[in-house]
Amino acid sequence: MNSLSRRRFLKISGASIAAASALTSMNSVVKGAQKVSEKTGKSVKGIQKIPTYCSMCFWKCSAIGYVRDGKLWKVEGNPIDPLSAGRLCPRGTGGVGAHYDPDRLKYPLLRKGKRGEEKWVQVTWDEAFEFIAKKMKNIKSQYGAESMGFFSHGIGGGFIKHLLKAYGTRNIAAPSFDQCLGPRDTAFEITYGDVIGGPERTDIENAKCIVLLGSHLGENMHNTQVQEFSKAVENHASIIVVDPRLSTAATKAKFYLPIKPGTDLALLLTWMNVLISENLYDKDYIEKYAFGFEQLKAEVSQYTPEWAYPVTGIKPELIRETAREMARYKPSTLVHPGRHSVWYGDDTQRGRALAIMSALLGNWGRKGGLINQDVFDVPSYPYPEYPKPKRENADNPNRKYPFGGAEGYTTGLREATLTGKPYPIKGWFVYGTNLLYSLPNMQETIDAMQKLDLLVVIDVVPSEIAGYADVVLPESIYLERYDELFAPYFKQPFVSLRQPVIAPPHDQKPGWWIAKKLGEKLGLQKYFPWKDVEEYLDTRLKMAGLSLKEMKEKGVALGEKPPLYFEEGWEPEFDTPTGKIELYSTHLDELGYDPIPKFTKHEEPQPGYFRLLFGRAPMHSFSRTQTNRLLTNVMDENEVWINADVAKRFELKSGDYIKLKNQDGIVSNRIKVKATERIRTDCVYIVHGFGHNSRMLKGAYHKGASDSRLITKYKVDPLMGGTGMNINFVTFETEA
């Protein structure tokens, strides 16, 4: 049904992942800097510098770990790395704190009490593998291999993914699509026949005008983007920020548009109206490359600035002025396509509007725009073929969401587990994703988990999801292990190596070792033909004309730069049904969806309620860094941003503790008030990831409130199944 090419989709998650592993001389499990010299038996003095790449978020900047007298000292950026250019973001710099985190998992745990009671017995790795293998064999014989599901986020999950594919399932999903950039990439694929990808193909540093809708660069700390944004600021780029909250980026903006949440699509359509009616769009470009201009023109003629004013709260003159500002700098006006785009359930259509704006400004393929990227080709390991699953994936039965499930559909897999349809899902592996905090409606996840015969969680700290596991496997942190090679699409192709900088402090083990060991227990040795990960990596690197030895020294190898712009020779080819940029989508038309985005109103808060918005703080990642003592030293709880006038009305002042209660009566942990002139009166804002309820996370327990707990409602994107989460409303409970 979906005829679009999935070429880049498969690559969004990084290496397409074959990985695997195996084995085991204990020595190569950790081969970082040594505390004790193998030769002399004395402790190692002095400084050792070991290149690796960061995993404090999924951007994966290359880094250099410094070990001083056998102890991890600091982590710096690798100067030859195209992503970091030698400078890590605060989380990368604070990665040291992940190694020293006193709340880390230390050894494998087997559940003793009920799921979620957090009662455990400590077991050996062998006992844990024995337990898991037995259950997995049972599931396979009773329900079929496809009844095992795998939730995974991050490159480290690659080896486990390989294991599960070898076992026979493809029910694999990551929150990086349906809870993150799925709608955006679907929209661009529909419009341009290609995705934005990650790292994003945005030429921020060369843009003369940058338009940010939500994208809160500077708080969203994706390193390359922030570095380039700062260059643009230095070059006096004209910055237009659209956000209900005066974000950090907004404080740098020439134009700040304090939009009513949920009305961005109206603003975008109105901007198109102005660009077209005032003849400001890139005519040549549209004529040459685009399809459906006349239909677009007719469709957006209804969206005048005067119409948009009451809808968006943005004054007509400001809408016109900003549209003209964008036109002034075209084609180097970058309308940032965003990343975390699951907001209101109509997100693919909003993504379409962003894509169309880029086209009208002639920006795709142009300097300061959405540019070409290429990849350093590292062949995958020559594995035997995986067994073919007998049943279609359970996450998107009958392709209910025509563009969904390409990367695995998280909430679809959860739904299948809950309902047993189209067939029962009886086992989950969870790697590097705290599902309770990353999927909306926590209760549904908890209910689904109660249906399972087996729940294995591989994590580094006792996260909330680990609290529900039957078996918890403690992984060594990224600074302590080898991992898959990283070779993303980027304007400067490269491949980077993750290697251990320091040994894990307890009985933690790397993912590749876990996969290989468990694979052997499951009788899948033939999928793990390599002796250890070094052999695996060396094999792949050799196929790419590199070697492990060389990569261990440099950390990064650069590929050949592709032409970035049409002017430089990037071919303007669009893999769409018309072969053009589809302002009017023939494909959506065919499927019965709006071929040109239409604005529809979203539900608004009842009196006394406020829309709950959420986002990032620069020094934390999601729900994974709140026990990192280096990072909590600069922020150890989140605050709820409340407009100062609203706060006054509720007799709240900064520093007061309150609780938030949502429309369904769910009450948060206590959270500090930030009464501020930096947010609208109809919404409140909190940083995602705080408010941990796992008692074992001592450093984070009950610090701040969790947005995830309050997101009981979500609206599913009909095109790709993404879960719009900005549709929950909260009120304040004072006696905290």
């Binding site: 600069v634 922020m635 100062a644 900064s654 009464a675 501020t676 002139e677 930096r678």
Partner: protein, 310 residues
């Protein structure tokens, strides 16, 4: 609306500076008291009151010696790097009041001891018979006694001023950086000492004299406080804000009730009645003055740390 946020939360510094705790005000108070007593005792020596057998100049230096040592212990307790305390005496830092203070104390102890030697307490004299000889010689030399008196007065004055200068040299704290703090602490030390001697003096003349002079000191103290506050409120924004900490801010109730009313005005009133023979002398007034002096140091140290530039 002005919103200021910071990521800093250093112990003793944030949210409000509190690096100096109880030890410093206790030291400043005892130092001030000792300074006052040295002046009083020195004055009596100078006035040749050694002739009176029950002159307070015979026991004040011993009490001063003890109180000063207690004050020094408080100061020592405040040090965070105690083992390095000797570093104070391997250098003299001419710009540092604290260095001056350390060296002045080196002189104060000999002066006190000299005073003690004029008539050492029995429990010491009994143990070291030689002392009696020394003290006999001293008493015989009038000029020696007089000079010991002068030196004690001078050093007492320096110690008294020093306790104020220590704070007022810290320009970062607007409340302290006034030119009259040395005077305030000196006067307050004198009034405390006068109250103390009034309380314990065996000699009726001395008691009466000190009650009268205490009244004078209290009146001057009120005047100095008024000057200080006027000076602050007519200065920069930061100084004005500092004054308001005392006038109507977080320290206002303690300041007005304990320092001004109970520590100065009411005892002054009582003592005025007493010296005019309207009522009998009562120990209540001097006790109030002494406690008022202690609270004054606490309030000034705490509020000063509260005050800051902006």
């Amino acid at each position: 609306m002005l919103e200021i946020t910071t990521t800093r939360h250093n112990h003793l510094i944030d949210p409000i500076l509190h690096a100096w705790n109880w030890e410093i005000p206790v030291y400043l108070f005892l130092g001030g008291l000792v300074a006052g007593m040295m002046i009083i005792s020195g004055y009596f020596l100078f006035k040749e009151r050694v002739k009176e057998d029950n002159c307070s100049c015979f026991y004040l230096p011993m009490i001063s010696f003890v109180l000063l040592s207690l004050g020094m212990s408080a100061l020592f307790l405040d040090l965070e790097h105690k083992l390095f305390v000797w570093r104070l005496y391997t250098t003299f830092q001419i710009t540092s009041p604290m260095s001056w203070g350390a060296w002045i104390l080196i002189l104060v102890y000999p002066a006190l001891i000299a005073n003690i030697l004029i008539r050492p307490p029995k429990f010491i004299a009994n143990k070291i018979p030689k002392l009696a000889e020394v003290s006999q010689k001293l008493i015989e030399h009038k000029w020696a006694v007089k000079n010991i008196g002068v030196v004690n007065m001078l050093l007492g004055g320096m110690v008294g001023m020093y306790t104020g200068i220590l704070l007022s040299s810290l320009g970062a704290r607007p409340l302290w950086s006034t030119s009259v703090l040395w005077l305030l602490f000196l006067i307050s030390g004198l009034s405390g000492a006068a109250a103390f001697v009034h309380l314990i003096a065996k000699n009726v003349y001395e008691r009466e004299l000190l009650a009268k002079s205490d009244n004078a000191f209290l009146i001057i103290e009120l005047f100095v406080i008024a000057m200080m506050i006027i000076g602050l409120v007519t200065s920069s924004k930061s100084h004005m804000a500092a004054a308001h900490l005392l006038l109507n801010g977080p320290f206002a109730s303690v300041f007005w009730i304990f320092v001004i009313a109970l520590g100065i005005v009411i005892p002054l009133y009582i003592q005025l009645l007493a010296v005019n023979h309207k009522i009998k002398h009562t120990p209540i007034a001097p006790i109030m003055v002494i406690i008022g002096g202690l609270i004054l140091r606490f309030v000034i140290v705490a509020a000063g740390q509260h005050s800051h530039w902006f």
